[in-house]
């Protein structure tokens, strides 16, 4: 079941088109990534879906509610991590959480306290609950901002660049938390990122956008395969042997063989890796090759993504 559906979503700021006829859907319970370089239109798309910005053209529904006519209802069911943590630095972590919890409709104080404690403990911030946010590190602020987005148990969560500006250690910690979160909270997550490691690790499906336009949608594996080609077989030999190269090249399942300069590493393109690998190994050994390792190499999403973005930009 789709919980977010957009149709021809477009946003223009004067003559600049930030989002250009974007159509996609997000299924219930999945982590859906919006991947693209800076200025691709990711934040604007999230702002439109969170009813902070109105579209110039097109339509969108969030949990069946229309973004133009039912904005208040959508704001109730959506949790959002904005581009900046948007935290009140003179308030404590608990006061920040308490304000947003009540703003999102958690009227009962006991219920609020329980929920805030649950989240701050999950994000390892309970011990710092009475400290002003101004004293927090960037990573702690980001954790608190994510906790705030979840305080009202929203069925849909928008996370805009959750690891942006963080050091590698903090970024990994946030990624671990988001991964745990999708299981713990069972929310649908729309994740906006320009970091491939975030998209690769966290997203069930992702959409690459560039200059406001949809480039491609699919699972990470689908995107790797569609954009970067099929996986290839890599055979590492103890010694270089032209005889082995020729033997492998002669197999009918083999489409292409590339050897490195020393000819000890052969990269072999095949129609069907699973069925052809035993035959490749047998031929290699038969031709006198001493096999050290055999690996399947998947094309990297990064290479494919960079190529794609470059192609579209030029």
């Amino acid at each position: 079941m789709s919980v977010i559906e957009t149709e021809g979503l477009t946003k223009r700021f004067g003559s600049f088109t930030a989002v250009d006829h974007l159509s996609f859907e997000v299924r219930e319970g999945e982590v859906f990534g919006l991947l693209g370089p800076n200025g691709a239109g990711k934040t604007t798309t999230i702002r439109i879906l969170a009813c902070l910005v109105s579209p110039s053209e097109g339509s969108a529904k969030v949990l069946g509610h229309d973004i133009t006519s039912d904005s208040l209802r959508i704001r109730e069911v959506v949790g959002i991590l904005t581009e900046n943590p948007s935290l009140y630095e003179r308030l404590t972590a608990y006061e920040n959480m308490d304000f947003f919890a009540e703003a999102y409709g958690l009227e009962d104080q006991q219920e609020r306290r329980g929920r805030i404690r649950e989240l701050l403990e999950f994000f390892e911030l309970w011990g710092r609950r009475d400290d002003k946010v101004a004293t927090f590190s960037k990573g702690m602020k980001q954790k608190l901002a994510i906790a705030r987005a979840l305080v009202h148990r929203p069925p849909i969560v928008f996370l805009d660049e959750p690891t942006a500006g963080l050091d590698p250690e903090s970024a990994k910690a946030i990624r671990d938390l988001i991964e745990g979160l999708s299981h713990h909270e069972k929310s649908t997550i729309l994740l906006c990122t320009h970091r491939l490691e975030d998209a690769e690790r966290l997203c069930d499906r992702l959409m690459i956008i560039n200059r406001g336009k949809r480039v491609i949608v699919g699972t990470v594996e689908e995107l790797q395969s569609r954009m970067g080609g099929k996986p290839v077989l890599q055979v590492t030999l103890r010694e270089a042997s032209q005889k082995v190269v020729e033997a492998v090249r002669g197999l009918k399942q083999v489409k292409q063989v590339d050897a490195d300069s020393s000819a000890t590493k052969l990269t072999i393109a095949l129609d069907d890796i699973a069925s052809a690998t035993p035959e490749v190994v047998r031929s290699t050994v038969h031709a006198g090759g001493m096999v050290l390792s055999v690996n399947t190499l998947h094309p990297s999403l990064e290479e494919a993504y960079l190529r794609l973005v470059k192609e579209r930009s030029s």
Partner: protein
């Protein structure tokens, strides 16, 4: 509109403001200056009797233009008593309209512009708090503290004036009187609401706090006109004038609130992010 949500915004903002001494200090100092210094100055300036040939300064003009009802009150008073009576009850009255305006201007200017500068506005706008609740909450956080300060200042001023008038008028206490009660509880809050409403609207439309404060400073001009009008006798803040101004401001406040909510556009606020 849910008042509870507006009060939630009020409580959050007040928590923030009350921890910021750069805002709190001028808010307290200015009213204190008016409520303590004005009557002290009044006690210290020599009476007309003590300085032969002196006049009441700007008040001469006002005395000439006084309504007959007020002139009747002055019958039988000594010059010292007339001077004290006129200055404490009429000259200084408009200053108590400045107190809520000045006290509220810093907070009102900061309402949306400050949130934009500190980049906290987006999360606030993403909450299911309606435009009218958000607008009212921002107005209340300027209005409630500034009116509390105005009432406290009035109480301090009344106490000092009465302490002085007790000796000057042989045991008579001048304040509070009906006109001042109308001024403090009618005109001051309605005038303050007009100024706050306009300032909050400005704050939502500009990029930063300073810009909002500079523009909103213009709103003091009508009150300054009132002060000079009173000094020159062109305007007299008697009960009828106070009542009429209160009514006028109350109507403006209602119109302004509706206009503020109508003009409140989340998208425009976000587009002005610093």
């Amino acid at each position: 509109m849910r008042l509870q949500k507006a009060m939630l915004v009020f409580r959050k903002d007040w928590r923030e403001v009350s921890r910021n001494w750069e805002v709190i200090l001028p808010m307290i100092v200015i009213p204190l200056m008016f409520s303590v210094l004005l009557p002290v100055v009044l006690a210290l300036i020599p009476s007309r009797e003590a300085v032969p040939g002196s006049s009441l300064g700007g008040s001469e003009e006002m005395l000439r233009n006084l309504p007959s009802s007020v002139r009747d009150q002055l019958v039988g008073m000594t010059d010292r008593q007339v001077q004290f009576y006129m200055m404490s009850l009429y000259f200084f009255a408009p200053f108590f309209l400045i107190i809520p305006l000045m006290a509220s201007s810093v907070i009102a200017s900061d309402s949306f512009a400050g949130e934009k500068e500190r980049k906290t506005i987006e999360a606030l706008l993403a909450t299911p708090i309606s435009d009218s609740e958000l607008f009212l909450g921002k107005i209340l956080v300027s209005f409630i503290p500034s009116m509390m300060l105005t009432v406290i200042s009035f109480l301090v001023y009344s106490t000092i004036v009465d302490l002085l008038s007790f000796s000057i008028f042989d045991g008579k206490l001048l304040l509070p009187n009906p006109t001042w009660i109308m001024l403090i509880f009618g005109l001051a809050p309605t005038a303050a609401l007009t100024s706050i409403g306009l300032t909050v609207m400005i704050s939502a439309r500009v990029k930063g706090f300073r810009e909002a404060q500079q523009i909103s400073a213009v709103l003091l001009i009508p009150v300054l006109i009132l002060i000079f009008g009173q000094l020159t006798g062109a305007i007299f803040l008697g009960p009828i004038m106070v009542g009429a101004l209160t009514g006028g401001f109350a109507i403006v406040d209602i119109l302004l609130f509706n206009m503020g909510v109508k003009l409140f556009r989340r998208e425009e606020i976000l587009s002005k992010l610093a």
